[in-house]
Amino acid sequence: MPRLSWRERFTAFRATLLLFAIAVIISLPAMTGSGRDLNYWENFMRFAGKFFPPDLSVTPTVLVALGETIQIAVMATFFAAIIALPLAVAGSQNIAPRWMNLVTRMILNVIRTLPSLIWALLAVAVVGPNPLAGVIGLTFYSIGYLGKFYSDAFESIDAEVSDGLRASGANAVQSFQYGMLPQVKPLILSHVLWMLEYNIRSAAIIGYVGAGGIGLLLHTYQEFGHWDRFSTVLLFILILVTTLDLFGEWLRGKILRDD
């Protein structure tokens, strides 16, 4: 029976696993605990107890803030979802030329490196503190994520079909549109929905720019120790997150089976 040589066994994937294992071993000091004898369960229950029961009396405030947040998140996700597409195409090694990959990926890396706070401050510096600044800040931030996710998705699938189209003379855009996009459509949709969820969930940016939203509410309730109100906000976020998640699941099923 043919045996794999040592070199054949040592694939890039396995080398990566090994590398990761080494990183984990080096990082073991991070596992240092308090060294004290703690009653974990009791501690957990004491903490969790603060959040119950949720103080539903703040519901109107929360709903207004959620409304503001959703509006800004929807706009930003919309712009980012569109702008990220050509960027991702330019950043995928199986679609665009190498130099273009590198330039685009560098841009996306810079965008992701800047924290959301900086995007917010930048937007405020340019257009002043208002919802528009929130939209601009979140849009950039989201482009950094979606651009990467899209192009990772493009690079992770078999490019056979689009290569076939190129062979018959189709240009890059066409072979992408007809050979690749149909394959990754469900993935792209998942990513956009996740981005919307992320933007709603953690729209701290919106608080930074002074446009209110739930980010600010959460911060305030936390600073003043109103954990029961805090949990009311979380409750509404959970409902939203779950709705988006179920919707995404339904949509993926539909696309793969029926459309």
């Binding site: 308090s34 060294g35 004290r36 004898d37 703690l38 009653n39 009791e42 501690n43 004491r46 903490f47 009396s57 703040v58 405030t61 706070l117 002043g128 503190p129 930074y208 002074g210 600010l216 911060h219 305030t220 936390q222 600073e223 003043f224 120790g225």
Partner: protein, 277 residues
């Protein structure tokens, strides 16, 4: 009782590492640099290992008090009010007092002389959670009967005229670049040279001060036994001795003095009652 130290069968308190948690205050930059010196100082004084941690959120320090993993914490009066398992040990003293003031700042050449003049003008609070940059100024407005029933500052300053920043700096910058007429901040934004340049401070004036704001507090976990508590208090008070004041001033508010918890927190407790939902 969540306190770990007093339970039989657990390691005795003195053999345990002492955990000191500092909430980043006026100068976390220095705080971080002094982390090692502080733990060295305390461990020499106490003859036990000391670890200094700097959690960004005071809620973390309070959780540590509750489960017995934090022994000493440096936090604001507001944070101590939220804490159920810690008590005041010492407080900081500024200019001979255990309180300080909150200021309304405006540009030097502006026509304002008191908050009443700011009616209907765009203004900036430091942030919705700031004590001297929001809670105390709001309380002051309430006492002057300038707020309506909802305690909403927009009732006085006008719809869309109230801005909440992400700290003192962001609020003052709005005044400096003309987007707001005045900003509510802590006294030290104007009186000390931590946040602003000489030139920037030169362009500003105080139009009113309000307070008192309780100074930051060194709190101790309630479940620590009295004897150990006394030793810790002594070690910390010795930071006031000549050779140690440098370290003290870089880490905490300056001079550490004893105070009575209820009395120290009362002004803030009263002020917090005006917060809108």
């Amino acid at each position: 009782e969540p306190g770990a130290a007093e339970n039989a069968g657990r390691p005795s308190a003195a053999s345990q590492k002492l955990v000191v948690a500092l909430k980043p205050d006026k100068n976390p930059d220095q705080m971080m640099e002094e982390r090692q010196s502080l733990s060295k100082y305390l461990s020499e004084k106490l003859g036990r290992e000391v670890e200094v941690v700097i959690p960004v959120s005071a809620a973390v320090i309070n959780e540590g008090f509750s489960n017995g993993t934090v022994d000493i914490g440096y936090l604001s009066a507001n944070d101590l009010i939220n804490s159920k398992d810690a008590e005041l040990l010492l407080v900081g003293e500024i200019n001979g007092q255990t309180t300080y003031k909150s200021y309304w700042l405006a540009l030097k050449d502006s026509p304002y002389d008191s908050v009443e003049d700011l009616k209907g003008k765009p203004i900036a609070f430091a942030s919705k959670t700031s004590t001297s940059g929001f809670v105390i100024p709001l309380w002051d407005l309430k006492r002057r009967n300038l707020l309506g029933d909802g305690n909403d500052p927009e009732a006085f300053f006008g719809k869309g005229n109230v801005f909440y920043g992400t700290g003192y700096l962001s609020a003052v910058e709005r005044v400096l670049n003309g987007q707001a007429e005045a900003a509510a901040v802590s006294y030290y934004v104007l009186d000390e040279d931590k946040h602003l340049s000489e030139e920037q401070r030169g362009r500003l004036k105080k139009i009113q001060e309000q307070g008192d704001v309780p100074t930051h507090i060194i709190a101790i976990r309630s479940s620590i036994p009295a004897a150990e508590r006394a030793a810790l208090k002594q070690a910390l008070l010795e930071l006031n001795d000549g050779a140690n004041t440098g370290l003290r001033d870089r880490v905490v508010t300056s001079k550490l003095v004893e105070a009575e918890q209820e009395a120290h927190l009362r002004p803030l407790k009263d002020a917090l009652s005006v917060l809108p939902k």
